[in-house]
Amino acid sequence: MSRVISVFLPDWPIERLAPGDAGPDQKLVLAGHDGRRRIVTAVNAAVRRAGVQPGMAMAQAQILAPGLAVRPADPAGDEEGLAKLALWALRYTPLAAPDQPDGLVLDVTGAAHLWGGEEALVADLCTRLARRGITARAALADNRGAAHALARFAANPTWLTRPGNSGPVLLSLPVAALRLPQKIMDGLHKLGLRRIGDLADAPRAPLTRRFGPELQLRLDQAFGRVAEPVAAVAPPNVPEAARDFPEPLTAPEALANHTGQLVEALCATLATQAAGARRLDLFFHRVDHAVLALRLGLAAPRQDAPRLARLLRERLEEIDPGFGIERLVLRASWTEPFTLHQTAALEQHAAPDLAPLIDTLASRVGAHNLYRMAPVESDVPERSLRRIPPLAPLAGKAWPSWPRPARLLSPPEPIATMALLPDHPPISFIWRGVRRRVARADGPERIFGEWWKRDAELFAVRDYFQVEDETGARFWIFRAGDGENTATGSQAWFLHGFFA
């Protein structure tokens, strides 16, 4: 006799996003498409109170619950999240699996005594989910089909049947409890066959002829006449070291200390397999069930614990432990055979790979201090550049075709000028007390404020001139304003940059 728990998570897609305590009055729905119709796919409690149900047209939902926040539904993300939740459920039994799209299934045969009995296990499971803000209904029965039906259609949020007692209670449940496709359910409904009891003792052949083998299969599964094993999730088979902490870790020293111990344990495992790590993943399971990860890439396979520990420790500051870390897992997610060998002086010279250098530099000075410049599609000089990570691509943006100064002053510095308004460059200007006569000039280049950014830029104009003084030094100066209309700026002059 097996014992199976089915967990039903009716609001999984939305609760996965918004933890339960994030404002009970916040109205949130997820929206998806049903053909061309935009429909609500999930709702939170506040919206449900307003009468919105999943499946309702978005337009109707918005009339019912004004001020609704809408986020796009993400079924792939839901599925992925459920798979992760199943990994978490492995704490109860090695046989846990996601029951897509809205539940979990756990085979707890022989596992319950570790938790003080079945009742205690189910209670613990539901409490932990509830703490995480996830509404769960759970049922324990002799087989997966019955547990699935009872989790969804039993009157109580948790429902435990005694061993050998699953069958009779099913008879009064609607056929919808049988995990049947909508089409078959509609067909049964139209014939007046609404409860499992209507089908349980009916002749098999006529039903199978009309509804195919699936109906009988589901009936047999529900009554335990055929086996339905749980295909448990398992972490990929890789070398790993893990440690649980009854008292969650928050102090950085403690994290560093335990990280070092994990590295040693893992390296010992690697040594037995004659393998070296090319990549290390360090997972931090927080008490709020968030999992954070650090990834360390290595240029060559290694099993040298002190060095690996140092590299990892240097990056621990990236991790926010929140209310504490309850589990650390170190996994060598990419390994290669490890052999000690001499450096080959005659190897072909490959294109230099900057990555290891950048790894090292980033570990020393901090990744945020390491950057390169990329163009931004903006005519406003201050906004025409941005910093990107050293190896990030330029993303197809091109540098402007006209000359731009090698250096910009931030902020631009005021200058005193002699200029003919509105079209001409200054005859001379004084910057930091030095007067310079303008020998050559080009302009104006007229740049408008980016009106969508700030009110001050709605009508703002700058007229830029490239000027060259008698010594051949080139400057980028501008007038705030178009030289005619005071709404466009103060008409004062500024020096903004130098050409090389």
Binding site: A202, P203, L207, E377, R446
Partner: protein, 1031 residues
Amino acid sequence: MNYAELQVTTHFSFLRGASAPEELFEEAARLGISALGIVDHGSLAGIVQAHVAAKAHGVRLVVGARVDVAEGAVLLLYPTDRAAYARLCRLLSVGKARGGKGQCVLGWADMATHAEGMLAVLVPDEADDACRHNLEQIAAFFPGRAYLALTLRRRPGDALRLHRISTSAVEAGVPTIVTNDVLFHASERRILQDVVTCIREGCTIDEAGFRRERHADRYLKPPMEMRRLFARYPEALARTQEILERCRFSLDELCYQYPEESPNPQQRLEELTWEGAAARFPDGVPADVTAMLRHELGLIGRMGYAAYFLTVHSIVRYARSQGILCQGRGSAANSAVCYVLGITAIDPVRSNLLFERFISEERREPPDIDVDFEHERRETVLQWVFDHYGRDRAALCAVVTRYRARGALRDAGKALGLTEDVVAALNSQVSHWSRTAVDEAQAAELGFNAGDRRLRLALELARQLIGTPRHLSQHPGGFVLTRDRLDELVPIEPAAMENRQVIEWDKDDINALGFMKVDCLALGMLSCLKRSLDMLAESKGLRLGLADIPTEDQATYEMIRHADTIGVFQIESRAQMSMLPRLKPKTFYDLVIEVAIVRPGPIQGDMVHPYLRRREGKEKVEYPSPALEKVLKKTLGVPLFQEQAMQVAMVAGGFSANEADALRRAMATFKNTGTIGNFRDKLVGGMIANGYAQEFAERTFAQLEGFGSYGFPESHAASFALLAYASSWLKCHHPEIFCAALLNSQPMGFYAPAQIVRDARDHGVEVRPVCLNASRWDCTLEKAGERFAVRLGLRMVKGLANAHAAALLAARGETPFSSPENAWRRAGMPVEALLHLAEADAFGPSLGLQRRQALWALRGLNDVPLPLFAQAQTNEPGMPLPPLSAGGEVLADYASAGLSLRAHPVSFLRGKLCREGIASCGDVHRAKDGAFLEVAGLILVRQRPGSAEGVLFVTLEDETGIANLVVWPDVFEAHRRTIITSRLLAARGRVQREGEVVHLVVRTLRDLSVALDAVGEMDAPELRVHSRDFR
């Protein structure tokens, strides 16, 4: 200093230009610019509006277009004369045919063949090899007529760039001109231009980057400033005047020719008229008709409209030859000539309509006749017109699709990065057709932070965007027909629908140029009438046309007066029905008024109540002046028709006919800012000057404002009234035929099949259920003793495809099916399709199989033959199926056919409702005014008309009839969820009785839908326990 700006893009270069032609010419006049050259991208769509605006502001228009040559050059083309203009139109037509919808694809080779008489201006990028190559090309294709544009971009190296380009031009021997590449009329429009760019590119302003226009200062600049900016190129500035001299072409030269129907159209029209008159009046043409015909023919002759009438006549004659029902309407349609020619069925003598009032000799605008055809067969007529007049001489008008409030906020909001839900919430405050956007106060009411910058900008820009053209689409049926090649008058493009082509101009443009337009529109009611008349001939041997329906039938008017008009054309809406008992129509003209009065125009202008009071004799009929008495006598001193509104402006406000027309148009266009104020001052001022009281003048203007957008012209009202009368007559005397025809024409009108069938049964019509062995696809008539019963057709069965039904009927022939399996084997249709029939209980009437039994039997059949199963089938064990309760049968009927002939679902709940003290809908109608009661029913309609200040009208239905609820906004807000989600609704409130019209003004509401679900389990309609008397 003279300067002409020759590179101006209007907002007819969709989502590029940001100003209307009117704005551009107004600004040009203000700045002292002598002429504008309008060059939209591959299009002349804005040129007529530019022509009108140019005249209004005294600035010359140079007609032109911008063409992007596929090999990589931008040209501005200006025709010098009419012949060159024809070539430009043909060139653009070629490009559009090649490029498809909205695109214009042309190459140098096309320039070569169309260049004659055209000036070309090359718009260069940099002074590079491409520029030099293009200069050579243009100099070769346009010898002596080629120019190069010098334009400041306000980018680095501008001066050098101009110098190099100018040098290249000198080398190539091509003279230069100055342009400013204008995209909007004034600098502040730059922001809107950025927004339309974002809309075009489908990005937000933050993502737009360099997709925004980067060259600065794209607005009109005064000549002095241009001279200052181009001080080094005085000759290029002066040359703008040279182009002005050379391009003398004006749209005034377009001379429109009617298609030739006959060498002597007037004579031919007169012949046809007298022939037609003799046919219409077999007992001799009455003297007054003869006089009227003579008079009209004289007028038509003087105006030269004979050819137009002949064209409409030949289209109508074709439709008639195909047995397609049609009916004319519009200004010229209500003439005796149109009556005898068979274009309309309204006897002008009877209807008291004067042709002359619709055709003004003074205005000289072309007559306007719209013809409505059966909606399912109109395409036949359209294709005949294309073929008969030739595809190079006939095309459909365009419709300029402009931004309305919702679309403007949606697109502006998207461009500014507002999320979809914010935009949707804001738009929920705006009705679909509204032209006024959401304002900050409304946004604040919705709980948005009105101070939020992005939100504020979005609202402001959406307001600016309203009225901006979005794209061209095809007019539903407005034909332009010409004698000469149409593509030499205006560019033509292929339409999205196959076998149709569309010109670039809309109906206002056509009007402005005096082109002829015939509207061939589709009308569902004509299909219904056609079906009715056919059935009438077939079943009762009564052969009638629209014009032969007995006129002034008092039984019909009696029925109309009781608002017994479900299904009837136009006067079936709730608003119309509540007006009928008050207006009490007795003659045809009363119907004309009825149709016109229940419109947003008269309602918003507050004309309904004064008219009713005067009609009932409760208020004295008086006229502010004798002149207005002439205009308003027919409608008791209250303007009800659009023409009257215009005439009031002319007679009392001193408007000329053209000004009155301009006023109507200004009110009808979307952007009623600015210009409307001028009209207001002029009208009110004019009326005061003519001795009218200020208060009266103000009220008159308010009335006209209501009309502008929603008024009904009398001639249209008359044509619609005729259809309303014809359908009422059928409903009154042949309700079974009308019911069947209406069901066969669904979807149309306000009511669902359930209400139509119920109404017919209330009138004593026997309706028989869908039957496997008796129904055809359409609903049909079956002999029932002396009378006829309606047999519901297979078309009522939800989910059943027409093709499957046809297979079934073909297999049935004369031999009825004997079992579900027999039907399946003989018809060779999928089991799935037969299941739909079983769900609709179609196996019941002739085979006596209950719904579930038939479903069970059918499900046992398999489309893929399995011989073993086929044998097993004969001796399979029986399956006990629970029987369907009576309530369940009714709900299943509704689910499968949308109606039930058994009982009303609410009847099953009557006992329960009575115990709760809830009255029936019938009780509401018997209750006295002011009674307080609660009623429950299925929700038929929820309606919130724009003219009703947020009041929601809800119609409930139970087995005793319908009840009309009025829900004020505060009650709606309090019961929002109940109203929207309920199927069975209980409403408590006070009865309001006005004559025969009864409303329940709602105080509170309850959702009883749960009780409805229980109906499926119930076996018999509960008998009423006791009856409450509300009298």
